[in-house]
Symmetry: D2
Subunit: 494 residues, 4 copies
């Protein structure tokens, strides 16, 4: 296995990273941005603003039990963080069930997991679940702004070696990752990564670690894209699990979640009334389907643009006029992009929008709206609220631009813990599978979670809805030609 040279997969800062287009279908991982919103929403209660400004690296802190193998902002916040974690536990039933079911068995007994994710109440529930299942964990943050300091404190107080605080410098960022990987007497068996930076670091600095490693679990679009590149280039040294593309996760991140967050994001930023508004949704994939359904339900008149004739036909049958953007751009009140493509809304459209038109992106990265064309000398920008700018034409016309064209749902709405629970449970199962798989089951390749596990994750979440599955009889299973415990559908079922 030839190790990747550093220049081949370069570290990219957050901005650039979001600009990269990872896969054809433009899928997105919501979980990447959870913490921002989560912390926003409790900011009034748990403000970090009054904290001292010394670097955590310069402070010696100890837990109540005397441990000090961690580096966080302030161990004294542990109690508050613990309560946040407890609240999140209530919304993450699957992980709690895994804890119970594991019982004496401990499917991760002896496993050493190094992780790099957002440090939030929800990921804390995941990390502590891994520990309950038998794993030893060392953890860093995958984003310099997203760490909930109180949660990090609670994790540390609970005995986990966590290295993360909000507002890390770039240098801090890599230092934290290095503390996790390069600890003495610590040879990680598995990587749990979100974005690929941890994986990248090990490729770059500790390639020999891969020799004894059981695998990588990666949840982000970006990270998965990197893994497929490695695989294609013949440089993937261990099996990798792509948890981003499981059915359950996809439907939740795209269809169900966007259905709710388009309303939430628009309301929080603009207080717009939906009833009677004319809206054009560019793209009728899963995200577009969710947006259209929600807006139609609340009384908006929705138009759709599509390039794919099958999706266009679905839009027709679902009751939406399918038009070219230029046909309606003069009359609509809101323009929403969710194509996964670039420059879907260009200056030629922007010039024709009516005064007060709201413009936002639910699709992918920040490419869908041609932002460059809005940064010209003739247009004036006015920042009117957080995440809301007015772009003003010479004649006084104002376009209301949300989140500067970045993803609305990541910037302006929150992600429910329940959605994160699905991702987290999938990650935990992927780790268990990799750790326990007989040798040879997984090669040095990127795998999708087996269908059956996808179904298992779904089943773990049914209790939230008090939903009761029907069990097939032996006869029925035989008639269908399947096992009575699944998998129940072909792989392509969506």
């Amino acid at each position: 296995c030839a190790f990747l040279s550093p220049q081949q997969i370069q570290f990219t800062d957050q901005k650039q990273e979001f600009n990269k287009r990872p896969t054809k279908t433009g899928r997105r991982s919501l979980s990447r941005s959870i913490s921002q919103s989560s912390t926003d929403s409790c900011s009034s209660v748990c403000s970090d603003s009054s904290e001292d400004e010394s670097s955590p690296k310069d402070k010696l802190q100890k837990t109540s039990k005397g441990l000090s193998d961690f580096c966080i902002k302030n161990i004294k916040q542990a109690d508050f963080g613990r309560r946040e974690i407890e609240m999140a536990q209530q919304e993450m039933p699957a992980l709690m069930v895994l804890r119970k079911r594991a019982g004496g068995e401990k499917p991760l007994a002896g496993a050493k997991v190094v992780g790099c994710t957002h440090i939030t109440a929800q990921t804390a529930v995941l990390i502590e679940t891994l520990c309950v299942l038998g794993a030893q964990c060392r953890w860093a943050a995958c984003n310099i702004f997203s760490t909930q300091n109180a949660v990090a404190a609670a994790l540390a107080e609970g005995g986990i070696s966590v290295f993360a605080w909000r507002g890390e410098s770039e240098e801090d960022f890599w230092w934290c990752i290095d503390q996790c990987v390069g600890a003495e007497n610590w040879q990680p068996d598995m990587i749990l990564d979100d974005g690929g930076d941890l994986t990248h670091w090990i490729y770059k600095k500790y390639p020999s670690l891969f020799k004894k490693m059981k695998g990588i679990v990666e949840e982000s679009v970006t990270g998965v894209y990197r893994l497929y590149q490695l695989s294609k280039a013949g440089r993937l040294c261990v099996p990798a699990m792509n948890v981003n593309d499981s059915v359950t996760k996809q439907k939740f991140d795209n269809l169900y979640c966007c259905k709710e967050s388009i309303l939430d994001g628009l309301k929080r930023t603009t207080d717009v009334m939906f009833g009677g508004k004319q809206v054009v949704v560019c793209g009728y994939g899963e995200v577009g389907k969710g947006c259209c359904a929600a807006l139609k339900a609340l009384g908006a008149v929705v138009y759709v643009t599509e390039a794919d004739p099958i999706c266009a036909l679905q839009a027709c049958m679902d009751g939406f006029r399918v038009i070219n953007l230029s046909e309606v751009v003069r009359q609509v009140d809101v323009v929403i992009t969710c194509t996964g493509n670039k420059n879907v809304v260009g200056r030629e459209h922007l010039d024709r929008m009516k005064n007060g038109c709201i413009l936002c992106n639910m699709g992918h990265s920040n490419t869908e709206i041609d932002m460059v064309s809005l940064r010209t000398a003739d247009l004036r920008w006015e920042h009117v609220r957080p995440q809301v700018d007015h772009v003003i034409w010479p004649d006084g016309k104002r376009i209301v631009l949300l989140a500067e064209g970045r993803l609305l749902n990541l910037s302006c709405s929150t992600v429910p813990s329940f959605v994160l629970s699905i991702t987290a449970a999938t990650q935990a199962l992927a780790l268990i599978e990799l750790y326990n798989a007989p040798e040879g089951r997984y090669k040095q390749d990127v795998y999708l979670l087996p269908k059956k596990m996808d179904e298992y994750v779904a089943s773990l979440h049914l209790s939230t809805f008090d939903a009761h599955l029907t069990e097939l009889s032996d006869d029925q299973a035989k008639y269908l030609g399947i096992s009575k415990h699944g998998p129940f559908k072909p792989n392509y079922y969506r």
Copy 2:
């Protein structure tokens, strides 16, 4: 006409006022609380926090033209306030049309209007419209917390005698009203009131003003209730227009607005995912119908409780199970009250709710949930976010209580300008009608706006939706037995 003695209609502080139950059907005026949300939402841009703390009463301020007949926080904020007003104008098409249509005619030429409303960008559009139509105005705030200081500055700079600032003391409050009413050389023709305090003050201090007055326009439930009491007691001295009960306003304030604000209010406070949630909505009047429709559309499983068999049958036909609260209270994730009644959710229900159940009131005042029963020694309260409290049972069960049982949509969501536009246009038309009505058309009684005006207000808002009315032919009008310009429906049409 016998004047009301002060002790008969007493001044009530805001808290008590909201506790009073005004009418049988529990209708509510949204506009009463606009400013809170409006100012919240732009607070990050236009913060008052850094302002000096001297009382406006102690400062001498002048407009750029040298005028000084006003009392506000800071005349220097006028530019910023002007922009807010301009933004609101875009969402208030009806008033702008009235300005245009008035043209040379000036239907309020010579009218002297004294007003007492929230001082916000939206009411500023109304006040300035009255001026364009020919009126002279003096204005005070109806709420000590709701004034947008920058807007007040812009009004003053524009030449209107406004007396209002955020954070008035109770003494200030009455002082401001008195400045409006008791000015020298000023004999108001009409009152525009929101809550009845201005009317009350004139009854109490300047009863002789009623002799030459053309009438009162009142929009709040509370104020209307007071007027009907006066009328009943034979003490109403001038005609009064109840603009609260027009069809258009009712549908907007109750059905359409609540349909949107229940989602908004729940999301902003709890980030709850709606899909699959079990929700019980108590009451299936207009508000309940709006809440149920929105929640069902977003994938919640909705139950309804009702006392009225006709509404219950409507709920059935609309696809909701109609049950007693006690039948489902153990299993539901969210409880929403909108009955207009009191103690709809009592301790016996609260004791049986499940851990994490969200509880809120969309109906009326703060009476629907028995708050007293939650203020007992055995229950612990934890304030977790603005407008969100956890009430904790001895066994650790937490109920998530929103806005302490007060109206969710007034506390935790915003009201679109478009809704306020309907109210404002109705108020303007009511003033025009009272001012121009031939003597004898209106007695000393409380009147509903004539159906035709209600239809006119509706028609003024159709351009927002680019909606085109069909005009009846002479033949068709004759066939229907109506005028081709309306009114088109019987008065009871809803």
Copy 3:
């Protein structure tokens, strides 16, 4: 009391009668046409085609108990008719409850009711309920085509003096009515009428009967219109109950029923696929609201035309584009009228419709589409299916016209028993009220059913949905200022 002279209210044949516009709001009674559809649907099982063609008037028939005071087609069909009645009973819970509750009491004990309605399984349940409640009944058909002969046989066999058969001549029609009214030793206390023909006959031939009569219950729009005319003219001799305008009946006949029957009527006649179809609905009253909701739900793109700005604004808020018919008539696939007006669709629109456009009327009578303009020499008609004609333009364009412009839901879809149950229960209660009311409660005027009875009818139907009403506590009722047993809402509540 002056009796109406025959020439003032003339007998009109069915065709003309349906052409008359009864009330401003264009409300319709569905029940008028029930029997057609009901009998259609079981025609394959219970065909009358093989029956002998002798007139029932010429045959002497006797029941199994030897009774012969009736005149029907064939007493031998009684068993089959009885089963139809039993099936209908299951869907008419309210009447069955009334039977039970009456118990020993018999609120109609001694009452003599003469009736003239459709003779169908559903009305049979009503008639027999009146008997169980203590009344003696004589009954004729209100329509010469709608009698279910087997049901008439079962009624006769059960001892009721019924005079009706399918395919009566006009002469037979009046003969049957006369048999009911003019029987020896029979002085009716009350009239139950549907269409006003029975009432008319008594006015014309037996005016003296009114002297001792307690009142008239009338359910049809037409009949109610006649009663109001009589009242206006000072010629109404007894109290009359208008059961057509109760809230419950209105909502069921218009909103809920049309919501279902628009889909049913279009499918049965044209097999049209709704998904993606562009539809214009003329009129957004209750009927239009129902049609729009159903079509939108099934994936149609729906446009609305409206003359009333309030309804237009409701359409906007509900997510429909409000346009003039001429704006979309070229592009739509289906045109539906429900305005209650005449010539809403004229030749100028018809000329511009596209090939294959489907045209139907859900609103009122047969006036909404200008049928005269379609009966010109240049257009060719082709009858393609029952209730479906193609009107063919010289260039080959075909318009698909349903039910020749008459009401689609009366002609091409069925009315569920449950809807009829509401009407029937209301009629029964109206009779009970009139029979038991203390003298003086009702004058010689037309009355709406008291709100409380409307609520009672609704409550009797809740068991069908297993719906459980919430009972107000004494405290709550006091707080609301109402009785805890209702009425719960103001009269104008819809």
Copy 4:
């Protein structure tokens, strides 16, 4: 290539054939049963009842041009049939576009196609399109009851050798097929089959024909199943196209079509009112999703049963309670099966249903309801309407059973031409592809239509909805890494 021996794939009569379960996922082809419904609906106009009863085989008939190479009921009906075909053409835009686009090119020039499908107006449009594209066709019916005789006459009159009439005997059936295949001087290039009988006959009697054949196009579940069996057994002698499993066809046949036909089927048979009805839908695949969406939209309270946890979670998120059938079977008004499984509703459930419960199958074959358990001595059956039986328990309880447990939408509702258009266009394209494919592109295997063709079929149907596709720019296509003409989505996209 070894030919299949007759005993390996036996001829099965229609009844048995429908009993066989073809594939795991239980997909169904709607087109198999079109003709029944289509002919039903125009039966009153074009009745065959008065036709003579001589066998077509015994009659010599000639077209107006003197041709006689066909065998049908009555050539005189050709005019009427032609009109039916013309009406169908309007709803089948894709085939008409293919005719136009072909123009001079004639992609099937010289092709000889032998076909065996239903003979209906819609298939006639297909057959004649193949001729316009250059093919010579001989055609037989795939079902002894489904032929529209007038349409067959029109085809014959148009010069096509068609052998089919309604009411063929089994012997006639094979005779007709044989006339198509075994004609002198006729060597078919391709087979278009629906059900596999034609293919079977050639395997059995004319195996040598396969030597020069370009392939088979098969649209039915059953036929496709047989082809896969042949392929598995190594006995498939030519390439075969499975047009049953294209995305477009699947979505239309299952999701969109069932969404409409569940309402239609229930209304036509039972006149049930949907509002407020409690319904349980067994299975939440595409068919179940369609049924649930439609019923919910019309006001039913819908419960879902599921065995697959992913589908169960989707049902939860879409707002349906997921329960075991036994939990709700006592209370529901309607039970609908769409699992693709057998004995989903067993006697233990049937015994507990309430009086009047409606029971029907939308899923697969006639296996989902345990019909055997209803054919016991203690239960009485009463046939009350076409396709409606009452099954009566000893205590008088009646279950309303529709279509004796066979597919409701095939028995009791119609299939819109538009849906058939999609199938027909797919069939035509599959023939063109097979006929023009360079040698070697297709082996002796079963193929799905290439994704791109699936998209092409979809695009041909967009004009019906006046839908306008957005074309990707070169830049955008490059960004997405796809061709700007598609395919646009991965193969598993649904």
